[in-house]
């Protein structure tokens, strides 16, 4: 066999010494059972869905649960109206006395709890606490005649690994099942102070390093538009709950695609901001002090407007740099609405590593046609050095030789789920890099950043449009390739996942005869491509990514809004 490429770690069999230990794990089993039982019990009776069939059969049927929710009228008309509103509409209606914060929270909690029953998106649901907070907000408004802040009464969902005041934060590690965090992390605290209401914390995979969702805390989380598919990861629950309408926006984190994969697979929008704009201070993970490849936090929402509302209020009123000195003191800039006729967009149709499946290709073709119609200048772009980029980022993930994960997983001896074994083998697996080797990774990364930056500057390219993955949402546990999203992590370009409004169609989205002649460029490509069978991906959302230059988050969001709202006319608020 030819030597394994660093991103083909599924070909490697490693013993994982120092990780699993069934004896140690035994003592955690009752705690895990208690944790799961509490989640089960937190589903309020009045929010329980009476399923038309057993859930396993609905999965086999590839149920579109969003569609079903509307068809079966699982919410009242008023609940639909509330939960299909943007943050600005909600805040306005609360300000005008049309709705109360309690009413809003209850509607979203109802919808979010339904989302959980179909998609398994929650790790914790605490509607009572949300209502209490909403009551305080209503009380404040009554007493002071004004709102507490620009997010007054807006229900926001949170990925579990953000420290939550007074709750356990475990980040998917069983060893942290007793890790009571006393304070909110900086970002949840700021959102809280701006008026957000929390009632749900959402799923993530073991180690956070899957573009899927499995951990010893929960089964996989499912795509709301086809519950036989994955919701993506690692912000798995955020993708599902936001898409389903269980929150106005949610906050995820992204080091290789973990905001964008769930946004793309589940069916909503998601922004991976440039690094050091949104605070990660006060979160739990294996990443403390890891700066070789930086993670970021960012929003997921059903509208680009809500992505912008989150970023703008968070930065401009929240001033997170007052609480986290690692952040750049850079308020959200108001940029003019771009004129399509003045935009230049470079299009990546294939990253040279894994060929996109037919629905993704249809998505790109359709969007490019519509962009051209609108007057956008399109440049076909073959991205350089994608193999180097992907190999380098894979080495970065594990350059500590998995030592941190060996401690955090090994402490409980918890079983490793399949995709954890895969990700522990990324790069050079358990071989620790030396400091000079790590510095070489940094230099490679910076050279790549300069190469892409130069391309954009020299060609006056405003944005890069690309697939967010080589397929629509795959089946749970069958998400192998990160190359499309991880490219923009190593480049650190602000990147927005855009819904195209299109859904997979088994009739349209088939491999052509031409396709059949394709020579696979790697085992990874073969594995990924062979998994695409048209009849298994019904209704899966077709999404793309829009990337801008570093620190041009504002421009990306402004262009994303024009593309989604004006050009593609995507509307995820169905009410």
């Amino acid at each position: 066999m030819s030597p394994v490429i660093s991103y083909e770690s599924f070909l490697v069999t490693e013993s994982f010494e120092g990780f699993e230990d069934p004896e140690k794990f035994k003592e955690y089993i009752p705690k895990l059972e208690k944790y799961k039982k509490e989640l089960e019990e937190s589903v309020l009776d009045e929010y329980k869905v009476s399923m038309p069939k057993p859930i396993d059969e609905l999965v086999k049927d590839q149920l579109d649960a969003v569609d079903y929710m509307y068809e079966a009228k699982l919410l009242t008309p008023e609940e639909f109206e509330i939960t299909d509103s943007t943050a600005s509409k909600i805040v306005k209606n609360i300000g005008d006395g049309k709705w109360t914060a309690v009413q809003v929270l209850k509607a979203f909690a109802h919808r979010g709890t339904i989302a959980h029953q179909f998609t398994n998106c929650a790790l914790q649901i605490f509607v009572d606490e949300g209502i209490k907070r909403a009551e305080e907000l209503d009380e404040y408004q009554k007493k002071n005649g004004k709102l507490v802040g620009p997010l007054h009464g807006v229900p926001v969902s949170l990925k579990e690994h953000f420290n939550y005041a007074g709750k356990v934060t475990h980040s998917g590690y069983v060893s942290l099942i007793d890790n009571l965090t006393e304070e909110f992390g900086v970002t949840p605290q700021i959102l809280y102070d701006l008026g957000a209401v929390f009632y749900i914390r959402t799923t993530q995979p073991q180690t956070l390093m899957h573009l899927c969702s499995e951990s010893n805390y929960s089964e996989v989380t499912k795509c709301p538009y086809n519950i036989s598919l994955s919701s993506g990861g690692s912000s798995s629950g955020e993708g599902a709950v936001v898409t389903f309408g269980g929150s106005v926006f949610g906050i995820g984190s992204d080091i290789g695609g973990s905001i964008r994969s769930p946004a793309a697979f589940s069916g909503c929008f998601g922004l991976r901001p440039t690094t050091h704009r949104v605070s990660m201070e006060g979160s739990t993970s294996s990443l403390g002090g890891q700066e070789t490849i930086q993670a970021v936090f960012g929003p997921l929402a059903r509208t680009v407007e809500d992505i912008e509302t989150m970023m703008k209020t968070y930065l401009n009123q929240g001033k997170p740099w007052n609480s986290d000195a690692s952040l750049i003191c850079m308020p959200w800039r108001d940029v003019p609405k771009p004129n399509a006729k003045e935009l230049t967009i470079a299009v990546i149709r294939d990253d040279g590593l894994v060929r996109p499946s037919p629905p993704i290709r249809r998505g790109i073709n359709t969007v490019v046609d519509k962009l051209k119609e609108a007057g956008v200048k399109i440049i076909e772009f073959t991205p350089p050095n994608t193999k180097l980029a992907y190999e380098t980022i894979n080495k970065m993930y594990n350059c500590d030789g998995n030592e941190t994960n060996r401690k955090m997983l090994g402490e409980s001896g918890e079983p490793l789920v399949q995709l954890t074994k895969w990700s522990l083998n990324y790069g050079e697996g358990s071989r620790m890099f030396t400091v000079p080797e790590v510095r070489q990774l940094h230099m490679t990364r910076d050279a790549l950043r300069n190469e892409y930056n130069k391309f954009m500057v020299d060609n006056k390219v405003d944005f890069i449009l690309s697939p967010a993955y080589n397929n629509v949402a795959p089946h749970p546990r069958e998400v192998y390739n990160w190359s499309y999203t991880a490219l923009f992590n190593i480049l650190d370009l602000p990147t927005l996942v855009l819904q195209t409004g299109l859904k997979q169609d088994p009739e349209l989205d088939v491999w052509t005869e031409e396709d059949m002649k394709h020579q696979y460029r790697s085992k990874l490509e073969q594995l990924e491509n062979e998994m695409y069978k048209p009849e298994e991906f019904k209704h899966a959302p077709i999404a793309l990514q829009l990337s801008g230059r570093r620190y041009h988050d504002e421009e990306v969001v402004a262009a994303g809004k024009v593309i989604a709202d004006d050009i593609l006319k995507v509307n995820l608020l169905k009410h």
Copy 2:
């Protein structure tokens, strides 16, 4: 003996295996001699100073060479007028046709070459090339009726380790004596494009890791105001040439004080900007990929106005982020001139590690009194965790176990000068850290940043005023303590070295009886304090540092201008 503290590496004796090799070094000796001879020959006859006494005797006399230049009228009145002008005046006068770029360059080259003869500030002087460039600028102006850019005709000096198109760039390493760099680094290129004229590249110490200047390329560089003292380092030549008036501004680099030490010791202003604002792309050093503690580039000048001119034109017209993707896309903001009555400044009088000498204490007392008079609110500030900060940054410097330096020095086997041995022993010397240990350093650093940031936010502190070193310019090779400057590297706060306008006075600046009772807190403090003998530091400039919050470079410069110009009335343009 008690265990050595990480910053007391002068107590450690290490063999430095793998570094020095007299046999290997032999082949470089002729090359070094040629290099030195070229420098000697580059001093034009018409710029040669006839010294009043042999230079060694002038050193013994503690000659104030700046004073002497004015007294002895070493320049013509017109040359004095030109070289005592700010960039904006020069550009205006060239634009108005009052001066030509050639005339300006010749005046500065004359003054800079005099500076070199007194202070040994240059590694290369190339007046002819400067004149040629100035001629082109004059030609351009004549032909186009306008200037090439906002720095048209402004002579700028450069630390040697910035890559210079068509010249050798060695960064003080003998092994790089043939390292011909074909292109300018990003920052010199931008300055060139804005109209700057180069004619001099300046000294730096072996490895760049001294707050002094010795290397196998050159002897130590001297303080212009007292040539028996050190000009500081590692931007040693920049400190001397800028202070002497051989350029309007110069560019240095700073990872532990290397812009601020030469500015403070030599007698000018110097800004250590926040990281990632000024490009280091295209420079030669041992620091490639080292991000644990980031170096920065920044300006030195005789006026705060010129510091601002450099930063503003460089960022706003130069847009360095188009050429270097590691930079933050953050133009220079126009901030209003601060009102002294609305400022709050926290004052550090002693960092808890090394007690400042009498002249520094007089400097602080005087400045604080004048600030109070002007209405500034002063908070006495005992900085927390300075020992942890200093130990941590020392570990950061050498966390690669000196492997990079072992290669770069060992390749030529060049002799290690005294302060190189000292700095190679910083932290844990030649023990390489593991990746998780490096991550722990990052976490410690970030906790320190948050601690100081919180102090500033909670107490509404705009700036921190502190000594730039525990003494005025020390004797060459006797610069042991970095704690005052390095604190602001690990905190990454933009920091401006301010001249107070005061000079050391052997009568006034004596240890008091109270001082004699001081219990030394470390061997380092004892060593540093015992070196201060009042009669040996005549006329040494007394400087302080002003630090602001991260990315508040603009505010620091604006406040520095008010303090230097309006409150302290410092004037280094003597004409």
